[in-house]
């Protein structure tokens, strides 16, 4: 049985734009199409950005569309236990997991590492630019396994609180922290390899 009493959602006045994120999802659960449009308007950029980072070799538009359609379908299940944005990110992560083959992706990422030109010899003391660091880190993130990548992107890059991120990914909080730790170790290892 649910934790709280079930109540039908009825919006008695106002437009969807005036609704909170959660009220918007409730309206969507009741079949309010305007609510779906408003949800898209509010979050499509975040969803696009996250999908683009998570599935770098796939078309983000496809994941954006699938995410909002899945949100439309599963809105009745949304319990408000996390922020709506986190909920959407969780949908993206699920879609990427099932639609992108981890192994081939890892192979492409490893290829990316192996084909990346190694750093040219520098003069002693030459500072590494922030731009160079970002390039290495971007490659290193791509080289992460899917589980580590989604945890790192959600928690660190998108700055979703740990408890919410764990729930969105369907894992325990302890597992999330372990994945983040492993992700950072893996990133450092790749960055080190890129600097040889």
């Amino acid at each position: 049985m649910t934790e709280g009493k079930l109540l039908p959602f009825r919006r008695v006045s106002g437009t969807v734009e005036e609704l909170s994120d959660r009220a918007l999802v409730s309206a969507l659960a009741e079949g309010d199409q305007a609510a779906l449009g408003a949800l898209y308007d509010r979050f499509h950029r975040d969803v696009y950005r996250f999908a683009a980072r998570l599935a770098r070799n796939a078309e983000p538009d496809d994941f954006v569309q699938m995410t909002f359609l899945e949100a439309h379908r599963s809105a009745p299940r949304f319990r408000g236990e996390s922020a709506v944005k986190t909920w959407l990110f969780g949908i993206v992560a699920n879609l990427v997991r099932t639609h992108v083959r981890g192994e081939s992706r890892k192979r492409r990422a490893v290829d990316a590492v192996s084909t990346m030109p190694k750093r040219p010899p520098t003069n002693p003391g030459e500072a590494i630019t922030r731009e160079q660091q970002r390039r290495w880190l971007a490659i290193a993130i791509e080289a992460l396994t899917p589980a580590l990548r989604e945890a790192y992107l959600l928690c660190i890059v998108e700055e979703v609180p740990g408890k919410e991120a764990a729930r969105a990914l369907g894992i325990r909080e302890a597992s999330l922290w372990r994945r983040l730790s492993n992700a950072r170790d893996a990133l450092r290892a790749t960055i080190e390899e890129l600097q040889r």
Partner: protein, 364 residues
């Protein structure tokens, strides 16, 4: 010496947050928006395949919700639920044991003849309605079953402390209203002058079977002053009486007695649909009674006998806590993992709390 970048966690994360993000063009975003809304509109029109259980909230007056579930290429629609006026209900379990829990209001339910092994039930706190192919209306108020009206087929009404009621097309059942301690006045719509020997009335509650109506406008019931003689039910399934007695004991607060009786029901009805519930409740009642040894045995037995039961995760969570208390953390962890993705939020939360507790206990 060549400079090396060896970032600490903080620096690594800080740089990660500055990575450039891809953005879509405005035109592309607009096109995508149109596509999403069009597809969603089409989604609303079509029948949907339900891959996983979902929650249905009641809808406003005059906007009945029709739910199409279980459509496949080979079979017609299996189930249609329509909310009559405002109803609050929730889909708590999926096929093969499809359960809808009704809190308040009325539902119109059409269930196609089920395959072997499938069950469909509507539950409230105090009763269950089970069908294998029927069209009926069911009403509840504050989580108590109030009425069942059968339009087609056959419906079993299982009030938790009363005999099972079997209703055929045209028949209805209404909850009795308790007026004084040993006196019951049956609702006006529900008395049959010469009731059939289908229902056994409970002593001190009913004078004669007041629940079944066979005519569209049954006469008003007389008041009952003396307790009736129970009438034996026509249909008695193995373990059924014990199961009901177990429920009665549990509701009376005697979990220990309930566990014993459920255990009997479990043994007698092991290969009946009732057996699964009886075996589960043996363990749950024993745990509630503090009889950890019996609870553990019963829950392990249940999981072995019914590994794919909709209640398997719940049983695993209960067993997990028993093992945790016994210090068997590895075994407890396995059971909590089994339950952590259950569709019922309370079961998931219990499992996740268990896993957190184990982690804390293991921490140096």
């Amino acid at each position: 010496m060549t400079a090396q970048w060896v970032p600490e966690d903080n620096e690594l994360d800080a740089v990660a947050r500055t990575l450039e993000a891809n953005v879509s063009s405005r035109e592309s975003a607009e096109q995508l928006r149109t596509s999403v809304l069009a597809s969603a509109g089409a989604q609303n029109q079509q029948s949907r395949r339900s891959p996983a259980p979902f929650v249905i909230a009641g809808v406003a007056i005059a906007a009945a919700l029709v739910l199409w579930v279980g459509r496949s290429a080979h079979t017609s629609v299996k189930l249609v639920i329509t909310s009559i006026d405002i109803a609050q209900y929730e889909h708590t379990s999926d096929w093969p044991d499809y359960v809808v829990h009704l809190d308040d209001g009325r539902l119109d339910v059409q269930v196609a003849t089920l395959d072997n092994g499938d069950r469909f039930r509507v539950t409230t706190l105090d009763a269950e309605v089970e069908v294998r192919g029927a069209h009926f209306e069911v009403g509840a108020e504050h989580d108590r079953l109030q009425s069942v009206l059968v339009r087609e087929g056959r419906v079993e009404v299982h009030p938790k402390d009363q005999q099972v009621v079997i209703l055929s097309a045209g028949e209805s059942w209404n909850a009795p209203k308790l007026v004084q301690r040993d006196e019951v006045i049956a609702p006006r719509t529900l008395v049959v002058p010469t009731p059939p020997p289908i229902i056994a009335s409970t002593p001190a509650v009913h004078a004669k079977p007041p629940h079944v109506s066979r005519s569209p406008e049954p006469p008003a019931p007389p008041p009952f002053a003396t307790p009736p003689t129970p009438v034996a039910p026509v249909l008695a399934k193995p373990g059924e009486a014990e199961f009901r007695a177990g429920w009665a004991a549990l509701r009376a607060g005697d979990a220990s007695a309930a566990a014993k009786v459920f255990s009997t029901a479990c043994n007698e009805a092991l290969h009946e649909p009732l057996g699964e519930d009886a075996c589960f409740w043996t363990g749950a009642a024993a745990k509630r009674a503090g009889d950890t040894a019996t609870a553990r045995t019963a829950l392990e037995h249940f999981l072995k006998q019914f590994p794919t039961s909709p209640r398997a995760s719940e049983a695993a969570a209960l067993l997990g806590w028993l093992l945790y208390d016994a210090g068997e953390l590895d075994a407890a962890e396995q059971d909590f993992h089994r339950a952590e993705h259950d569709r019922v939020p309370k079961v998931r939360d219990s499992a996740q709390r268990g896993l957190t507790a184990i982690q804390r206990k293991r921490a140096p």
